[in-house]
């Protein structure tokens, strides 16, 4: 008689977890899970509590887990709800979505742990967990990144090595694209940051006295919450 249950979900989440599990490549599996759950939340017809509210909770937890707002218990909560939604939602859509999350968590427990407990995204895909930097020894001072930045977060004039203001940077990635075909001088960094000048200096004047030594940035220097 389970046929009397009427599910009005339209379609299934687009992301494919099994492909990720086979080969995740450079992707962030937590972000993938986030996207799956965003889809599921949108697709839920609303008639069943595990699907309707479960996908909302899973999506909210994953949002927090990818933005540095998660707490220590959230990972257990995520796992608990995901299993329950998978097993009891009663509809293909949400049970597949939650099943994908359970599978991703099983295949990549460390990635989830890094996101939820350590505030890190190994794939540097979660904006809250990386910063963007101009490598002074590669920068040509062309200014393409400045043109591309919608936040006016990049300092420096012609012929100067540009410096990105981490506080203003929104991690949109446009400077990375702009520089990609020129000098490949702009990079994302997780907890380990490249050494950069504090203010723009003329191209060619950068002397890496640390011999490649990198300093660790402190949490409070990162407004997006990249906590150690």
């Amino acid at each position: 008689m389970s046929g009397s249950y009427i599910c009005g979900a339209n379609g299934l989440p687009s992301a494919d977890a099994s492909a990720l599990i086979a080969d995740k490549g450079a992707a962030c599996v937590v972000r993938a899970a986030l996207e799956i759950m965003a889809d599921a939340r949108r697709l839920s017809c609303g008639q069943c509590v595990f699907c309707r509210e479960g996908t909302i909770q899973l999506h909210e937890l994953l949002k927090d887990g990818t933005s540095g707002s998660a707490t220590g218990e959230d990972l257990e909560l995520l796992a608990e709800i995901a299993v329950m939604v998978r097993d009891y939602s009663g509809c293909e859509m949400s049970s597949k979505a939650a099943g994908a999350l359970v599978d991703l968590m099983g295949a990549y427990p460390d990635e989830f742990d890094q996101h939820f407990r350590r505030g890190r995204c190994p794939a540097l895909a979660c904006p809250a967990y990386y910063t963007v930097h101009v490598l002074p020894d590669l920068c040509t001072g062309c200014g393409a990144c400045v043109q591309a930045c919608p936040e006016a977060a990049i300092a420096g004039g012609d012929g100067m090595i540009r410096v990105i203001d981490g506080e203003r940077c929104s991690r949109c990635g446009r400077c990375l694209e702009a520089c990609d075909g020129i000098a490949k001088a702009i990079v994302k960094a997780g907890p380990v940051k490249p050494r950069t000048p504090d203010a723009p200096i003329p191209v060619g004047s950068w002397a890496d006295d640390g011999g490649g030594r990198r300093r660790r940035r402190r949490g409070q220097e990162n407004p997006e919450g990249g906590v150690e």
Partner: protein, 719 residues
């Protein structure tokens, strides 16, 4: 044994179940509580809330019991650890998007969700708080309060509206972010969604999300009656929704049969009923009340008596007992009618030369044509009632002594009150009772040119409008009440005005003017206001405003009282009313019952009828009968409960019967109000919200209900 009945094992107990029953239903039938929010006895299962999960042997994981059919030999466990885990998380999920503060909710303590919180024992949530707000401005809907932030999307309202009613005004919708919510289709208004305002959605809502507006239904009394305000307010509890449904499909004879189940005067009531039903009508709060009285008249005028007559005059085998009814008004005639039907010999003694009480001697014939009354008296006589006209009775004891086994006193209130002002007893001063009786019973009376009526109720207008028809050229109603606060019905005031009746509001009477030993007018003064202090009138007069109105006839329409003296042999109140028990009509004198205006003062025909029914039932019990006067004269069709959506249903206006033009009204005694035509009657009856459909819906058993049943059973066993 029926092969479709089998046993299942629930929590170790052998429980009978039948084919087609769900596990949940089988458990509930056996008094085993399984929590649920989205399930409702009248609705198809949705399986959405997951609270009703149980473990069944052979199933790999807990399943929803509302959506699982019971099968022979099934072993069900309703309280396992896995089950508790599913229920607990489901409840947390539901509460994550529900406002946390119960005490500020109007449904506090009347909320299934709140009861469920207590049952499941979820106190605080570990989950993210989700705020869902889907505001719904809907100013035209004055019946249903929507508080959708309290909605838990259990879908009961959606299923009730779609599956039970076939209306489909409510649905799961999606907002721009893809978030689901429950609301009216095709916009924000119930009306635009084709809502029939049956209230099924409110009835099934387990939270405070959908509620009746405050004051819609009476708070006291049985709920199934309170939910049908027209019937609840009718003194005789006439099954109004049922007869309106018959009228809507043109089955007028059956409609009359329904009315006759409670009142032997359907046509007269169709003319003059005080219609408390219409004041109570739920539709009145939406836009305009159903024209119930006009519909009743239409049915009584057009229905075939074959539908009810033989049943309505059928009598139980003769009991050999004799009952005397003193007074042939609606109360006495009703009592006699039912006593005759119960097999007793019923004789009505009427003092006046016509039967009907105030319906014959007081109510103007332009409101109640006497042929209408006569047709109903004929049925009462056909049922075996012996009506003796011109037969005053001196005392109840004399009747008992002359061989009557019981007496019903229904002598009415025919003693018109004269105001205690100078000149009140002058020739040319009459009471309303006397004036109307001479106009409608004695016949041939005329009216002088100038008539002043003192009083502001319906009787005052009866007198004034009668005087107009009798040829008076200057008719004035003078009353204490300010304009718009008069006791008379607004229709009476308006129609009277239309016929040329002048109205002087806010005056108190100083005295009757005298000229040549005869009344010549009335002296009055303006007042700021008035009050009744311990039954005495206190006026706040405006000094220096005294004035006179010349009149040839002064009519006191200032109330009336019973005229029984202590010699009649029943207990009387200081004001002269018969002392009788309200619930039984018993007077304290063995075998003597009382009914009607003589007991409670002038009220209405329908109240008198109910009072007569009560007295008849009591007298019947006294005479050895069962005292049951309720009967079914029309078999109600089985209702599907389906209403279908009707575009614009919410704004359908009341259809009014035609009113004769004032010039025609002034010149004769023909009925002022016409009858609805067939088409209008069908449409008007179709406006009914059918509140009784909601009253017949199933109720959800809460865990505390079942706990009460269990403990009662336990007590039974213990004994």
């Amino acid at each position: 044994m029926d092969s479709s009945v089998f046993t299942v094992c629930i929590d170790g107990a052998e429980v009978r179940a039948s084919e087609g029953q769900t596990v949940l239903q089988a458990a509930q039938a056996a008094g085993i509580y399984i929590p649920t929010l989205c399930s409702h006895p009248d609705l198809v299962p949705q399986g959405g809330c997951k609270l009703c999960v149980v473990e069944i042997d052979g199933f790999e994981k807990p399943v929803t019991s509302c959506a699982t059919l019971a099968a022979p030999g099934m072993a069900v466990r309703t309280r396992t650890e896995r089950v508790a885990k599913v229920r607990g998380l489901a409840m947390e999920l539901i509460l994550a998007s529900h406002p946390a503060d119960c005490t500020s909710c109007p449904s506090y303590l009347h909320c299934e969700l709140q009861a469920m919180i207590q049952y499941i024992g979820v106190t605080h949530s570990r989950l993210r708080t989700v705020k869902k707000a889907h505001g719904v401005p809907d100013p035209r809907n004055r019946l249903i309060v929507r508080d959708m932030e309290r909605c838990i999307q259990c879908g009961r309202c959606v299923r009730a509206c779609r599956d039970l009613r076939g209306v489909g005004a409510l649905a799961y919708l999606k907002d721009d972010d893809g978030e689901s919510y429950v609301s009216t289709v095709d916009g924000e208004s119930f009306g635009d969604a084709g809502c029939r305002h049956c209230g099924a959605c409110v009835e099934v809502c387990p939270t405070g999300a959908l509620r009746d507006v405050d004051g819609l239904f009476a708070k006291e009394g049985p709920r199934e009656l309170a939910l049908v305000p027209c019937r609840n307010e009718c003194p005789a509890r006439v099954d109004i929704p049922s007869y309106l449904r018959f009228i809507a499909v043109g089955e007028y004879g059956k409609a009359v049969a329904v009315i006759r189940e409670k009142a032997p005067f359907p046509l007269s009531l169709g003319y003059v009923c005080a219609r408390p039903c219409e004041s109570a009508c739920k539709r009145d709060k939406l836009n305009e009340a159903i024209a119930i009285r006009a519909l009743k008249r239409h049915a009584a005028e057009n229905g075939s008596a074959a539908e009810w007559r033989s049943a309505a005059i059928a009598r139980a085998p003769a009991t050999g007992r004799r009952v005397a009814v003193v007074g042939g008004g609606p109360a006495g005639l009703t009592a006699a009618y039912y006593l005759a039907r119960k097999g007793h010999e019923a004789t009505v003694f009427e003092r006046l030369p016509a039967a009907g009480g105030m319906m014959a001697a007081g109510i103007p014939s332009y409101r109640l044509p006497r042929e209408a009354l006569a047709s109903e008296l004929e049925v009462i006589e056909a049922a075996g009632v012996d009506i003796r006209l011109g037969s005053p009775i001196g005392s109840a004891a004399e009747l008992l002594a002359s061989g009557y086994d019981a007496v019903v006193v229904a002598t009415g209130a025919h003693d018109g009150r004269r105001l205690p002002i100078p000149g009140a007893d002058l020739p040319g001063v009459v009471t309303a009772v006397d004036f109307l009786r001479s106009a409608y019973l004695d016949g041939g009376a005329g009216a002088p040119a100038r008539v002043a009526v003192l009083g502001g109720g319906n009787v005052a207008f009866d007198c004034a409008r009668t005087a107009v028809r009798l040829g008076a050229s200057e008719v004035t109603v003078l009353c204490l009440e300010a304009e718009g606060r008069m006791l008379a019905d607004a229709d009476e005031v308006e129609e009277g005005r239309g016929e040329g009746v002048a109205i002087k509001n806010g005056v108190s009477f100083v005295g009757v003017l005298e000229l040549g030993g005869k009344a010549s007018g009335v002296r009055y003064e303006s007042i700021r206001g008035f009050s009744f202090e311990s039954g005495r009138l206190a006026v706040d007069a405006l000094p220096g405003t005294e004035a006179s109105l010349e009149a040839d006839l002064i009519v006191f329409a200032a109330g009336q009282a019973p005229s029984l003296g202590p010699g009649f042999g029943v207990g009387l109140s200081p004001a002269g009313y018969v002392l009788a028990d309200e619930a039984t009509g018993a007077t304290g004198v063995r075998g003597v019952y009382a009914a009607g205006d003589a007991v409670y003062g002038t009220k209405s025909v329908i109240k008198a009828i109910q009072s007569g029914r009560v007295a008849a039932a009591s007298a019947d019990r006294y005479l050895g009968g069962d005292g049951i006067v309720d009967e079914t004269l029309a078999v109600r069709p089985r209702l599907s409960g389906r209403l279908e959506a009707v575009e614009g249903f919410e704004s359908l206006g009341r259809l009014r019967p035609p009113l004769s033009p004032p010039a025609d009204r002034r010149s004769g005694f023909a009925a002022v109000e016409g009858s609805l035509d067939r088409e209008a009657a069908g449409r008007e009856a179709g406006r009914c919200l059918q509140c009784d459909l909601r009253a017949s819906m199933g109720a959800v058993a809460t865990w505390s209900d079942l706990a009460a049943v269990k403990s009662a059973e336990g007590a039974e066993v213990a004994r």
